[in-house]
Amino acid sequence: MSAGPQKIIPLADLAARVPDGSSLALGGSFLHRGPFAFVRELIRQGRRDLEVVKQSPGYDIDILCRAGALSRARAGIVAMEGNFGLAPWYRRAIESGAVRLEEHACASLTAGLRAAAFGVPFMPCGGIHGSDLAALNGWKTIEDPYGSGEAVYAIPRIQPDFAVIQANEVSESGDVRVFGTSHWDRIMSRSAKRVLVVAERIAPDASFRDQPELTLVPHFLVEAVSIVPNGAWPGSLWPDYAIDYPAVEAYMTDAPGVLADHLAAGPEVREAAHV
């Protein structure tokens, strides 16, 4: 992976790497630093039967449901957040049975990703005792083999086909830098089979060499990158921009043409037109 051809490719080509039926760990949380331009591009390309793997999806999972692109989800908490409440198209997709949910605690989903990242078939996870989620998901407890008397829930390995990370900056080779919280992006990038990145901009290699400690994902784990300014729209990308609340509000309207208008308003559309 490390030394192939140029890693920086157009968004359409990046999204085209994802076949129908893929499972996608999407970075960020709710309306914050999600790979939203990428998700819209999947919809434009007519992708079907996708799975979202994410502790706290919101806009991303909702728009995929709205477009009929999703068939499965493994998620902790799903909402639009920021006063927008539930994710309405997601909600309907679950209620109607159009999308099959594996409901997690955020930390149990992380445990499953850790199992994949650490190369083991399952991962113990604290808590869960007394929750109906255990029986629902068929999670089993394991007795501490060292006699403490503790029994702990084991979460089966979760290995997404792709992690898609929304970054502030990348190097020419695909090193990934994120400002503020990294949410669950680190473990996603270590557990998925392939890592795709959408970044706000390219930063000079020298800046990565000056502060290599800031790199969240090294280039050799990254398969390909697209540069899409404002690509987390209508969500935030700290410290570059905040949530576009009017755009989210417009998206929430349930009327014909709203989804198409919203997709047409994505900054990646203008960007592509310039290319």
Binding site: S29, S56, N83, I94, A105, S108, C125, I128, H183, R186
Partner: protein
């Protein structure tokens, strides 16, 4: 009484009642956490930082550690909540902190709460054919049993939200505290017990609007907001935007 009026007179509004009584669960030198979908606990933590004469560690889902946000965000997971922070303590880290037993106070959302302080955030109706699909597991199933204390809030106090039987047990372990527009419950001997009620409500009203049985021993009207609490909340929500957004009514 309007929010504005209640702020002036020093009486409680539903909004100030919930935020302030959540804040009163914060204790000196502890580690306190607020998460996603949690505007009221976020305000409570920021209020406690301003109003109380003690230090504590406030960590939040945006990775902030004792931040100084330049504004109070609408989204309680907004990255502005890490502004001024000297560290980023991201999701894996704060969950691990909780499961290894170091999270002193954790604010967790709930759609339904039962008398044991267990919660449902998954569904109304049958999980497999829900009337309403709710946000889902979130922090609860792992944090509720592992945090030293967890506290939740409901903006509606009713037999639909405070129930005898949960439609689904998303998280067990049991809340240490529950705050509604008219009541504060705390756990006593494994069950939620009434600690105090809104002075404009009454014990009878709380009983009437609560789906589970509870002890009210030693309960009385909630002490009014202190000047420091009122001043802090006014500074956090000077235009009353959060109060309006929360849309909390006593009845």
């Amino acid at each position: 009484m309007s929010e504005a009026a209640s702020n002036v007179t020093g009486a409680w509004s539903g909004f100030s009642y919930i935020v302030t009584n959540l804040a009163r669960f914060v204790r000196p030198n502890e580690i306190t956490f607020s998460g996603v979908n949690s505007a009221l606990p976020m305000l409570a933590c920021l209020l406690a930082k301003q109003a109380y004469p003690f230090a504590f560690t406030y960590i939040n889902v945006a990775g902030g550690v004792d931040p100084n946000p330049s504004e109070v965000p609408i989204s309680s997971s907004d990255p502005v909540l890490a502004e001024g922070s000297r560290a980023i303590f991201a999701n894996e880290d704060f969950y691990d902190l909780c499961t290894r037993g170091l999270m002193d106070l954790c604010f967790l959302g709930a759609a339904q709460v039962d008398g044991l302080g267990r919660t449902n955030v998954s569904c109304i109706g049958d999980w497999h054919a829900p009337r309403v699909r709710l946000p889902g597991g979130g922090g609860g199933a792992v944090m509720l049993p592992t945090a030293r204390r967890a506290v939740t809030w409901r903006t509606e106090h009713s037999r639909r939200t405070l129930v005898e039987t949960l439609d689904f047990v998303t998280a067990a372990g049991g809340m240490h505290g529950v705050v509604t527009p008219i009541a504060v419950f705390t756990k006593r001997e494994g069950r939620l017990a009434l600690a105090s009620w809104h002075p404009e409500a009454s014990l009878d009203e709380v009983r009437d609007r609560t789906g589970f049985a509870f002890s009210a021993e030693d309960a009385g009207p909630t002490p009014p907001p202190t000047p420091e609490e009122r001043a802090a909340l006014a500074s956090l929500d000077p235009a009353g935007r959060f109060a309006v957004d929360a849309g909390i009514r006593l009845r």
